[in-house]
């Protein structure tokens, strides 16, 4: 996950507040799920304007989280326009990030349990 996710800057912004971070991870996943669904619809409807807006919004939150590779994919998708290939790459990378974030949540819940 090294290249996919760098949470150092994110931890600094949240002051390492793990409860807040979990809430933000959930918010990130919800926004991405909804955004990816919108991108699917944009491709079907060939709506390039909405594609660009949606990709831009996802790019902003991905970069702020530290999802570097996802942010880069979205940056490319913003300039190159919509395509199945681009959406496929975004979904694959998002799956990686989401699984990692979920595993972090599980790990934190587990460590709290041990305590």
């Amino acid at each position: 996950m090294d290249k996919s996710l760098d949470l150092n800057n994110f931890h600094e912004m949240t002051d390492g507040d793990s409860e807040l971070e979990q809430a933000l991870f959930a918010e990130f996943i919800t926004s991405c799920n909804s955004g990816i669904e919108t991108l699917r619809q944009c491709l079907a409807a060939r709506d390039s304007e909405k594609w660009t807006r949606t990709v831009h919004a996802l790019k902003g939150i991905s970069l702020n989280l530290g999802a570097i590779r996802l942010g880069e994919l979205l940056k490319t998708a913003q300039t190159a326009g919509g395509s199945e290939k681009s959406l496929g790459a975004i979904i694959s990378e998002f799956d990686l990030v989401r699984n990692y974030l979920k595993s972090m949540g599980t790990a934190q819940a587990g460590s709290e349990g041990v305590r």
Partner: protein
């Protein structure tokens, strides 16, 4: 709230709604009935009754402006619904309604209607200038800056709030119309403004704010930190530009910069 939303099916502010209607791929129509030239004011109750009878089968919304004008929006075909609406209004307010009313299809051509909305919102804002002037006077006496965040993404707004609200009085708006209402009421010292907003975008909004308030201190925040965007923001009156991804330091630096340049006494006190 700038506009009195009586029947808020779209559940949103007018310009924000217009932009969403334009891009939704669904046919929304807007009927603007100016009150000027009519023998008596368009009474809300009569308009509501008429709209319910004429548009009952479609989602619709009514907006009543402070100058008496009304806008009726509905999601459905224009022809029959428009005729029924005009007939109902004529019954209440006289035949002149037909001469003054203008109907727009938001999908086919939203720009004319959007301009109308912008004029209405600007006019209503001017009614709130007295409140704003008092708040702006109070601003001069503040020891700590008050900050307004304008960001429609929940993830990003929560992150910004987290970094700022521990030390500063901070407000949040998710679109420009809500931000304007807060600005006029509170005269914040600093506005952190996202560019890509629903409805009026950040570029348009910074222009509006600097015209309204020459002392406005607006810092743009965007993931599109292209030279063209930065130059345009400065031209529109923004005092700074923060690119996403930002850091805590960058955000706090923008506040410290304000304190150093606009609140020198507070800056000295706080080191």
């Amino acid at each position: 709230m700038l506009l009195d939303i009586v029947d808020d099916n779209p559940g949103d502010r007018l310009l924000t709604f217009v932009e969403r209607a334009r891009t939704s791929g669904v046919d929304w129509n807007a009927l603007h009935v100016p009150c000027s030239g009519l023998p008596h004011a368009l009474r809300q109750a009569n308009v509501q009754t008429t709209a319910k009878a004429a548009l009952g089968g479609y989602p619709y919304a009514l907006y009543f402006f402070q100058d008496g004008d009304i806008v009726i929006l509905w999601n459905g075909p224009q022809g029959v619904a428009l005729d029924a609406m005009l007939q109902g209004l004529t019954g209440h307010f006289g035949a002149q309604v037909r001469s003054f009313a203008i109907c727009y299809n938001l999908r086919a051509d939203s720009s004319g209607f959007r301009k109308l909305c912008e004029r209405k919102i600007a006019a209503q804002s001017s009614n709130q200038i007295t409140t704003f002037r008092a708040a702006a006077q109070d601003r001069k006496r503040r020891q700590q800056p008050q900050i307004l965040i304008v960001e429609d993404q929940a993830f990003s707004s929560r992150l910004l709030l987290t970094m700022l609200e521990r030390n500063y009085k901070t407000s949040l708006a998710t679109d420009a119309e809500a931000a304007l209402a807060i600005y006029l009421k509170m005269a914040p010292d600093i506005v952190l403004l996202d560019i890509e907003l629903p409805g009026i975008n950040g570029d348009e909004f910074v222009g509006m704010l600097t015209k309204l308030d020459p002392d406005a201190y607006v810092v743009m925040v965007s993931a599109n930190a292209w030279l063209e965007n930065v130059t345009r923001s400065k031209k529109n009156g923004a005092k700074g530009f923060i690119a996403k991804p930002y850091s805590k330091q960058k955000i706090l630096d923008s506040v410290h910069m304000f304190v150093r340049t606009r609140m020198p006494m507070a800056g000295a006190l706080h080191g």
